[in-house]
């Protein structure tokens, strides 16, 4: 049995708690959160030992692994502490707000030889894995464009008092929604080399972005577009879709479906048929020992535990890969403040943005 501790009891923490607590190879020996009343209730009803200080939990309990589901700004310190104690670490996304922090931790995890994973659960969705299988087999030929979109209802009013409304704690649509979108693109086609035209707009939030748009540029000339908006309540929950165009056809994939349009017989070996083909989640889903909100949440934790049990070093969503996602986020943050070109209504000297403080955002926001 693996002895596991859990830090952070927000929405993801509670979800992890339920899933981990039922895993046949795991014993959840401690949970930790700064909200003592919540801990009190959980202890009373579950009997699991609770801590208000994570170091105390790490000191007192003999752990094999730890799951960290706190706001992102705490990740760096907590992950480092756990790694230094030789623990396997599963950390929620986004990994680190500071790329250099993330790089250090990925390196440290490698040195310590421990299993390390970040909670990018789309990598464990059957439909996205089917898309990856098709792409790896070049079913679409040479890819030339990818579009990823993520919409859903998180911030719908000019209010909100949690860490999600603070950029310094890892709040905002970029850190919350766009990260998933970036990560699934990284997973499917690799990391972009550059970004341009990044737009980080506020709709309702005072301090963070509610929508994100950017262009991505890949090494082989492929381009991509990302659109994320967490103020869209036309959808009942977060919904992410990736569309890819290649010389041999097109693919549209989301959590539930893989739709392919294969142009010529060249892709026939890997795709079911030419022209449009639609396959559903029932074709790709795999059984999990416990289901809560979607197989992928259980599947990602099961993968983490299996890697530990089997001594596997490679991971589907390692610190390394999560840092690559942080790198794209960082590039977008920097790019959002850069120059833009005014649409010229016929005069001969188009103006560039002032390179003073604030740049694009402040011009738009009137700061």
């Amino acid at each position: 049995m693996l002895n596991v501790g859990l830090i952070g009891l927000g929405k993801m923490g509670l979800s992890h708690l339920a899933i981990v607590n039922t895993h046949p190879a795991v014993k959840l020996v401690g949970i930790c959160d700064s909200a003592s009343y919540l801990c009190g209730i959980l202890h009373k009803y579950t009997g699991i030992e609770v801590f208000s200080n994570y170091r105390e939990m790490l000191d007192k309990k003999s752990l094999d692994a730890v799951i960290i589901a706190t706001p992102s700004r705490f990740h760096g310190e907590m992950v480092r502490e756990a790694l230094n104690r030789g623990l396997h670490v599963f950390c929620e996304k986004p990994f680190c707000l500071d790329v250099s922090d993330g790089l250090d931790l990925a390196e440290l995890a490698e040195r310590k030889g421990v299993v390390n994973q970040v909670g990018y659960h789309y990598r464990f969705v059957g439909a996205f894995n089917e898309a990856k299988r098709l792409l790896d087999a070049h079913a679409l030929g040479r890819l030339h464009h990818v579009r990823v979109e993520a919409y859903g209802p998180v911030v719908l009013r000019p209010k909100g008092a949690t860490w999600r409304s603070k950029g310094s704690e890892g709040g905002g649509c970029l850190y919350d929604y766009a990260c998933h979108a970036i990560d699934i693109v990284n997973y499917l086609v690799g990391r972009p080399d550059a970004v341009s035209g990044t737009v980080l707009n506020r709709i309702f939030s005072r301090d963070v972005d509610d929508e994100v748009y950017a262009t991505m540029h890949f090494a082989d000339g492929m381009t991509g577009m990302i659109a994320a908006n967490w103020s869209d309540d036309s959808l009942r929950r977060m919904s992410t879709q990736v569309t890819l165009w290649g010389t041999n056809g097109r693919m549209v994939v989301d959590r539930q479906e893989v739709k392919t349009f294969i142009r010529a017989a060249a892709g026939g070996a890997v795709a079911a048929k030419e022209g449009w083909d639609i396959r559903h989640t029932t074709d790709f889903h795999s059984d999990v020992w416990y289901y809560l909100r979607g197989e992928e949440y259980s599947a990602q934790l099961d993968h983490f535990f299996q890697c530990i049990v089997e001594g596997r070093r490679e991971n589907i969503s390692s610190f390394d890969s999560a840092v690559q996602t942080d790198c794209v986020v960082s590039a977008m943050l920097q790019n959002a403040g850069e120059a833009w070109r005014q649409v010229d209504s016929g005069s001969r000297s188009p103006t560039l943005s002032p390179n003073g403080s604030g740049g694009f955002l402040s011009a738009v926001m009137g700061r």
Binding site: N21, I41, G160, Y290
Partner: protein, 286 residues
């Protein structure tokens, strides 16, 4: 319980196979008349139970039914609570405790909880749970609700965390206050039965996926079949068509061959309602 229950997923943009289809349905059923039309079709075909979430829009359906008591004299609602996205979104926006405050009457239980010791917490958790149930039940006032279900997201969250007492609290309140039978929706049926047994809920009504594909049946189709055959509970089969992955006749033939009490299904056309009902009737006789 009736043999056939009409479900409401299709009305609220929930489709486990296709987001496109879900969206098309959400657009179509934005018009409440589209919902009541289908309900009428189900009702007139002899399906007299509407098993529905506590989505805000169900309040409109309830109001419609209240306005026409003769028309719907046999109609029963099986509410499924809570409408979890409402709470999940609030927790995301405001944090756990702040979200809770928003759904509870001002002051009272919560402030004592935040202030108090764990022993106080226990009593207050029960009080809070009762208040939340009452809040969800308001829209059904004056209507028949003989069975009240706990939604799977909450059932399975509590089950996973090991908070079995919550099932007892739910069952007691539903029986005491609404003279209704408690029901539990789950994606982890065999495990839930163990937990319900441990807190002394006998012969429980449990709604879970049951389909020939074994789709989202945690523990596997064999364990589900064995459980249905050997344990004492009242199974309600959902997702019998696996969102359309199984051909209707084959799907219904399979599920009717299991020892289940009721089948819940949703459909967005009158012909599908009639067809599914006809198949269930056919295989239920055999």
């Amino acid at each position: 319980m009736d043999r056939i229950l009409f479900g409401d997923n299709q009305f609220f943009g929930i489709n486990h196979m296709s987001e496109e289809k879900a969206r098309a349905q959400a657009i179509r059923f934005a018009d409440i008349h589209e919902i009541t039309d289908l309900l009428d079709a189900a009702y007139d075909s002899g399906i007299h139970v509407f098993m529905c979430t506590t989505h805000d829009r169900i309040a409109e359906v309830c109001a419609h039914v209240r306005l026409h008591p003769e028309r719907y004299s046999k109609l029963e609602f099986y509410p499924c609570m809570p409408y979890a996205h409402k709470y999940a979104n609030a927790v995301t926006e405001h944090g756990t405790m702040e979200a809770l405050k928003r759904f509870l009457p001002a002051e009272g239980a919560l402030s004592a909880l935040v202030r108090g010791s764990v022993s106080v917490a226990r009593r207050d958790v029960e009080g809070m749970a009762r208040l939340l149930i009452d809040a969800e039940m308001k829209m059904f006032s004056g209507l028949k609700t003989p069975v009240i279900f706990l939604q799977n997201v909450v059932t399975d969250l509590l089950l996973g965390m090991g908070i079995k007492d919550a099932f007892r609290i739910f069952a007691d309140h539903v029986q005491d206050r609404y003279k209704a039978e408690p029901g539990f929706i789950t994606m982890n049926m065999p495990r839930l039965l163990d937990a319900l047994e441990q807190v002394g809920i006998e012969n429980p009504i449990v709604c879970a996926n049951m389909n020939k594909l074994g789709f989202r049946m945690c523990g596997g189709i064999d364990l589900y079949e064995k459980t249905i055959a050997s344990r004492k509970f009242r199974p309600v089969a959902m997702s019998v068509l696996a969102s359309g992955a199984i051909e209707p006749r084959e799907a219904i033939e399979y599920v009717c061959s299991q020892k289940i009490e009721s089948i819940v299904f949703g459909a967005s056309s009158k012909s599908n309602i009639l067809n599914t009902k006809r198949l269930i009737d056919e295989y239920s006789v055999a």
